[in-house]
């Protein structure tokens, strides 16, 4: 029986001054046989340098195609308690704000129906609950549902939208990230729960260009707060920085990526038309500089990790969009993008990869957006303008 197995390789991970997941799991294994089998299977994987989890298949709850990830041991005879060890994803609240009561409530249900193991949080933001049986999926979901929780996305669907803490805790937030995230999540329930697309689609919302949820690197569709008037400068606070010996020229002005700032030793001024709203100067002098008054968001498209193509950073798609409830403009844009991607995308092709394959100008034409200079990453080397074939025939 697996109870007698030793775990010398895992035991090594308990040594040293740091907290150890092995120690935590051993403690949980005293009351959860599945966790003991997870440890023993992991020990075997370390010894053999080979994974023993199988992934996928049919698992889910009635009406849902996402939110449950099938996980099976490929050695069910040896580790019977993890023969089925499925993952459930619970859609996180906007900005990951919980009460301790809410967290305890989640864990109470998970302790009842699952292994008790959690991952707070997954890369997309969901509360990840690791390890339950097929039989327990529906009752676990029913109880979570009764408590007001819902599953997140998985597979070829909209993944749970996520956002930074935004205006709840950050003075730089140019948009209400929490409300946008919640509103989009409610609007696109079908897209979130019933996978119909070529592959996954992630939406992330950041309140400013500091991009604390790393939307530009990780999201197919990034909503990043910005402003279109001018940076606010409090000259008295600027001088206070200078009087305290802060190197405004070296630390701020010379590091401005678009040379938009000037400092004459008394006054800091900005050429707004040159400013790219990167947040560097605001981060360096937060008491003196702040975001502008006319706020909205820049919409970017195509970020992702390596899949069919290499990792992509997002491109600017809409330089400035006002972001006010009910957010119809951004919702209409999302629907157009999804329709185009769904119509043209190959299996497992992210929207950024499809744009790369077909070309940005085809994408822009098909979704009805005009090209603007802010979409261009670098000046073109090719001087030729390419007409559409139908324009030549006229």
């Amino acid at each position: 029986m697996s109870e007698d197995k030793k775990t010398p390789l895992l035991d090594e991970l308990e040594k040293g001054p740091w907290p150890s997941f092995v120690t935590d799991m051993k403690k949980l294994a005293e009351k959860k046989p599945a966790v003991k089998d997870v440890l023993d299977q992991l020990e075997l994987s370390y010894a053999e340098k080979k994974g023993h989890w199988k992934h996928g298949g049919i698992v889910g709850v009635t009406g849902y195609g996402g939110g449950v990830i099938g996980r099976y041991s490929d050695k069910p005879e040896e580790f019977p308690n993890v023969a089925e060890f499925h993952t459930m994803r619970i859609n996180q609240p906007s900005g990951w704000f919980y009460t301790t009561d809410a967290l305890r409530d989640i864990l109470k249900t998970w302790d009842k129906f699952g292994s008790g193991l959690t991952n707070m949080h997954g890369a997309t933001g969901d509360i990840i609950l690791l390890g339950t049986t097929t039989q327990n999926l529906q009752p676990a979901f029913n109880e979570f549902s009764e408590k007001g929780w819902d599953l997140g996305g998985s597979g070829s669907d909209l993944r749970s939208p996520s956002c930074c803490v935004g205006p709840a805790r950050c003075e730089n937030a140019c948009i209400d990230t929490l409300d946008i995230c919640y509103n989009l999540t409610q609007e696109f329930q079908d897209e979130l729960h019933r996978p119909m697309w070529p592959y996954k689609f992630k939406i992330k919302v950041s309140g400013c260009a500091n991009d604390c949820v790393a939307s530009v690197a990780r999201a197919d569709f990034s909503i990043v707060g910005t402003w279109r008037d001018t940076l606010n400068i409090d000259q008295a606070e600027v001088r206070a920085y200078a009087n305290n010996g802060y190197d405004i020229k070296g630390m701020v002005v010379e590091k401005c990526p678009s040379n938009a700032l000037e400092w004459d030793g008394k006054t800091l001024s900005i050429k707004s038309e040159e400013c790219v709203r990167c947040m560097h100067c605001i981060n360096k002098m937060p008491k003196a500089l702040s975001v502008g008054q006319e706020k909205g968001a820049t919409i970017l498209i195509g970020g992702k990790a390596t899949i069919l193509k290499s990792a992509f950073l997002s491109w600017v798609l809409v330089p400035f969009m006002k972001m006010e409830p009910p957010y119809d403009e951004v919702k209409d844009l999302l629907r157009k993008i999804w329709e185009w991607w769904d119509e043209n995308g190959k299996m497992r092709e992210r929207v950024g990869e499809l744009i790369y394959r077909k070309g940005m100008r085809v994408f822009l034409r098909d979704i009805g957006l005009d090209p603007v200079p802010q979409m261009v990453a670098a000046p073109r080397a090719n001087p030729y303008f390419f007409w559409w074939p139908e324009e030549i025939n006229k």
Partner: protein, 62 residues
């Protein structure tokens, strides 16, 4: 129209083990968005389930 398509979708799903809705729409010569709408209804009724093998497929609940 919707009832016709619903019948066609159920008939198609009855003939295959699993399918992508894209392939189903192409084979039925229907718009994918229309097929997706029917599949979503069937899923909510518990008549269709989803499976994941590298990407998501749909199949009739046996």
């Amino acid at each position: 129209m919707s009832e016709d398509l619903r019948a066609k979708v159920i008939e198609y799903l009855g003939k295959v083990d699993k399918t992508k809705t894209r392939d189903m729409a192409d084979n039925l010569k229907e718009k994918k968005s229309d097929v997706d709408k029917i599949v979503k209804e069937l899923a909510k009724e518990g008549k269709v389930e989803f499976l994941y093998i590298g990407t998501s497929y749909v199949k009739l609940v046996k």
